[in-house]
């Protein structure tokens, strides 16, 4: 019977040898008072058994030595494996860090590229921007003038006076034989000359907005079939509606 464990085998063999030695000694001790033949045979067999056990022990010890060497080798190999394992883990960690750094860098680079693309798509010359900034600031259109007080007529939007003095206001004339005679008139009503230029004109005396005093004006018939919305069409609502609809259909055809 071969036990799997070398150590157990060795111990068993030692125990066996101990037992055999004990028997031998007992036999010898018992042999002293009387001598018998079969005892001699027994002692020889016991001696042989003892020798056999001794040789077995020696072989098992040799086996144990070999196993010990194998175990040493195994330990050293295990050590190597652990070393390699830790190196691999380190590499993995650095790879992961590199990946995150690269991902961040790529993301930021993409954003930068988007910004560059956007800037290129909507590029405007600085001169135009400066011109525009000057136009809207010089006339106090976006920032109040320094000495502005509550009674000041200037406003951040075109006032009614501005509107009358502008191009649109000048395109309208008074009704001479109009369908709806005007109800009220302001003192400034006269046929204003048409003003060229696209921007609104300057500021005059203070006139607060009084819608009830708007004058009905008709359009001139000089071929201007455009979207001229009547600024003061107080009485000419229907006509304005008609004009509006016709003008909208003529000029803003894309939206109809």
């Amino acid at each position: 019977m071969a036990s799997l464990n070398t150590q157990t085998r060795l111990f068993m063999l030692i125990d066996d040898m101990e037992m055999v030695a004990k028997e031998l000694f007992e036999l010898q001790l018992m042999n002293v008072p009387k001598s018998q033949q079969k005892d001699g045979a027994d002692s020889v067999s016991l001696m042989e058994l003892l020798i056999q056990k001794d040789s077995e022990i020696k072989s098992v010890i040799k086996l144990a030595e070999e196993q010990a060497q194998i175990q040493k080798l195994m330990d050293s190999l295990k050590l190597e494996v652990d070393k390699r394992d830790s190196e691999i883990k380190n590499l993995q960690r650095s790879l992961k860090e590199a990946e995150t750094i690269l991902a961040t860098a790529i993301y930021q680079a993409k954003q930068k590229m988007q910004a560059v693309k956007q800037a290129n798509d909507h590029s405007t010359s600085s001169e135009e921007i400066i011109k525009f900034a000057h136009r809207i600031s010089a006339s106090n259109a976006v920032a109040a003038p320094v000495m502005w007080g509550p009674g000041d007529p200037r406003r951040p939007y075109p006032t009614d006076l501005d509107m009358r003095q502008g191009f649109l206001g000048g395109m309208c004339t008074y009704p001479d034989n109009s369908r709806h005679p005007p109800q009220t008139q302001t003192s400034t009503e006269q046929h204003l000359p048409t003003m060229p230029g696209g921007a609104m004109q300057g500021i005059g005396s203070s006139l607060s907005w009084q819608p009830s005093q708007e004058v009905a004006m008709t359009l001139t018939s000089t071929g201007s079939h455009h979207s001229i919305h009547d600024l003061k069409g107080h009485n000419k609502e229907n006509e304005d509606v008609e004009l509006m609809s016709s003008d909208s259909s003529s000029s803003s055809s894309s939206d109809e």
């Binding site: 976006v142 109040a144 939007y157 191009f167 708007e214 609809s245 909208s248 003529s250 939206d255």
Partner: protein
Amino acid sequence: MASKMSLSSAADAEEQLKLRFQVELEFVQCLANPNYLNFLAQRGYFKEQNFINYLKYLLYWKEPKYAKYLKYPQCLHMLDLLQYEHFRKELVSAPCAKFIDDQQLLHWQHYHRRRMKLFQEQQEKMQPPPHNKPPPS
């Protein structure tokens, strides 16, 4: 549309286009005036589909190549708001227009007020505070 034009020559067409540009430029800037918007709302212009379409058409002024001609750029914001029916309905009431007017004025004066505040702070720093000496006990 072509049939409505009395003259069909190319030069005249260009003249008409120029005219239309000027007219629409002036009109879109008039939209910056909240009193004018109230005026339009009270006369029911905002209820007509044609006018609403026209307001949508005027959104082309938001493009840089057109916007550079504007003197009152706030009109673009008002134009944006006018696209919403709720806003158009609200503008019928005079208090609404007055509120917008007040806010516009306050915003207009914002830069000036900030400068005044900075000047005041600067002046306070320069002058030593006169009443801060504790009385000797």
